[in-house]
Subunit: 214 residues, 4 copies
């Protein structure tokens, strides 16, 4: 198998990411479907401002899935070969990506109806803990002894990614702890973490000493 294979696994993953991220908008329900016939401007403005938490949850899930695409894209800059293990691990990762709209909708719905409750926030942040683990497993499987990386791989970038990803499950586990106590804090922390993982590992200066020349 050769570089052409990576092309198709990327195309399929791009498709799944694209559909999953677009389906998120279906969670934003029209006010009309909730309270029909209340469609004069005054009522509509009030309805729309009542939807701001929904919009923020949509924004957070969009940012999370979008930035996971950026990370998937970044990993596959280095991954050059494909084997059955990688295909299956990638499928597992996509399974969780595709699942994200469900806990998002759950969180949105519960927070709108009973803001003092936490079950949905726990499911929501738990999903991200598992997602962070999947990203780690996929990356470590591919990068173990450079198994599926290119020959001219940028060793420093690989090490930077490995370090940054080590933090992933830990910090998402911390957010998971917060979810048992406070729902808005869970959403805001998830959003902040998404932005953190948008930055390339190297930009974060996670390597204080320069370990290896490429």
């Amino acid at each position: 198998m050769n570089e052409k294979e990576t092309g198709r696994i990327e195309a399929f993953s791009d498709g799944v990411f694209a559909v999953a991220i677009t389906l998120l908008v279906l969670n934003i329900k029209l006010p009309a479907q909730l309270v029909p016939a209340l469609f004069d401007d005054q009522h509509l403005w009030r309805e729309l401002s009542g939807q701001l938490p929904t919009l923020f949850a949509f924004l957070t899930s969009f940012a999370t899935v979008g930035i996971m695409w950026i990370n998937h894209h970044r990993l596959f800059t280095h991954i050059k070969r494909v084997d059955t293990g990688l295909l299956l691990l990638n499928l597992l990762l996509l399974l969780l990506i595709v699942f994200v709209p469900y806990p998002t909708a759950l969180l949105t719905e519960q927070y709108a109806l009973s803001p003092g409750q936490h079950a949905a926030a726990i499911v929501y942040s738990g999903t991200f803990v598992i997602l962070a683990c999947c990203f780690n497993i996929l990356w470590r499987y591919a990068s173990y002894h450079n198994r599926l990386l290119g020959k001219d791989v940028d060793t420093r970038a690989v090490i930077a990614i490995s370090r940054q990803y080590l933090f992933g499950p830990l910090v998402y586990l911390a957010v998971f702890g917060v979810a048992w106590i406070n729902t808005p804090a869970t959403i805001i922390l998830s959003f902040a973490l998404a932005l953190f993982f948008a930055l390339p590992g190297r930009a974060l200066r996670l390597e204080p000493f320069e370990p290896l020349e490429p």
Copy 2:
């Protein structure tokens, strides 16, 4: 990072545009879902002709998203390299593209039920003001000092795009003003603007003098 990167950002964006533009059709509800059992021909024709405003809103959103795809395609003819900033700005743009079906549905619903009201038209045209700004920011980020453009870039085309895009937020702001007064005019003007941005900047003779040889 190299030209191959642009390939994948384009593939992901194409996927998101394709899903978002296809989801628009879900806004056209079957008459059956509104008035069941009224399915003999006479009633159906009346129902269908009552849906013409919905069809026109669908057409406008389709044209808008489709022509934004043409513009995205045109920009990435010139953009050759990718960095984290571009990935994030592109994600912000896609966020708004994905959002378009929601204000479209809102506008459709409110115009059908209370045509004298304007809240939905304001949200609808406001979305396009923000979208036009995002296109400008993405383009200016990429074209600033030719940061992410190819070495053999067509300088005149770049200048033509920059000029045409300067008008974008201004004219959409004007439509935003109209939205506070008249909903049908908002839809028609949005449609006309979409067509305007379908034309390449150069075709519009925005440059009366020939500023630079390529």
Copy 3:
């Protein structure tokens, strides 16, 4: 603009075709949503066999959209260059492709509820008349004086396509006439026509004499 451009217009069109063809399955509603609590086997078998017309309409629309993809694919084997006109005509074609699930759902619903009525069949077959016209316009725009075709174009294949497509609007217009009289005949004829257009023009021996050597 060069051959690379065709790549992206094809990718976007592939995405739209793929989403539109997959959304068709959403028209097959679960019996549960119609008659809840009737979920023992006897009732379910009866429900499912009652859904056979729906399944056949799904099959017809799937075949139609799928074979339109095959035709789009065949045209773009010959089309090598892109201009704004082609982008807009392609967008118009995709608009109609995306619209197909709506008349399909309408036809399914009306035929199930009042089989003696014809309004939905008229809308359904009318859509295909317009689609056949769009295919013709797109192809004649691109092939006029070989405007957007490659230099090494297969002239006989081009002529064969032009002839086969000439029949398109005419035969779909005949089906449109049938739709005013008989709904099942409309569905069956549409299905047969889809298969006809699956065959490459040359296979049909539309050219009795060998007009040109390539």
Copy 4:
């Protein structure tokens, strides 16, 4: 027709697989839509644990469609050319892929409401029998006398795939038999079979003797 054609048939298939696999998540309904206003934590946890069978059906369908994508991907590593027959057989295969969410939803719904009944499990496993047949027909059409394979084809891999695929319809037929008796066993066996087909034919040592040097 040449290798470029395979590119586009793969892109379109990737798109259809990606949309179909992502639409599966829509089958997981929010508890809110079933029992509104029961959104305090205790009720929600109970609701969510009641959804575990739905989640497992989602998982099985996701694994099945995902692994069918892996198989499609594996076949098209060997298939290099395209003709009208392949386009139509591929469309038939995609028709069944796109259909998978429907029997999945049916199975989920019936098993949740009347677990002792089997109609949905029969439809579900029947779909997989037909799918396994379609995969066989597509592969035998393409590999017959190496019709559409590359010149430098890996003969042993081709034989291994042909042998592994021979088992497909037989084992799915066995599961189809089980479906008349026991629904949970049907789901578990379908899941196990999906994993079996994830492994490449060669890894299974289906060829005890080394029949041919490549």
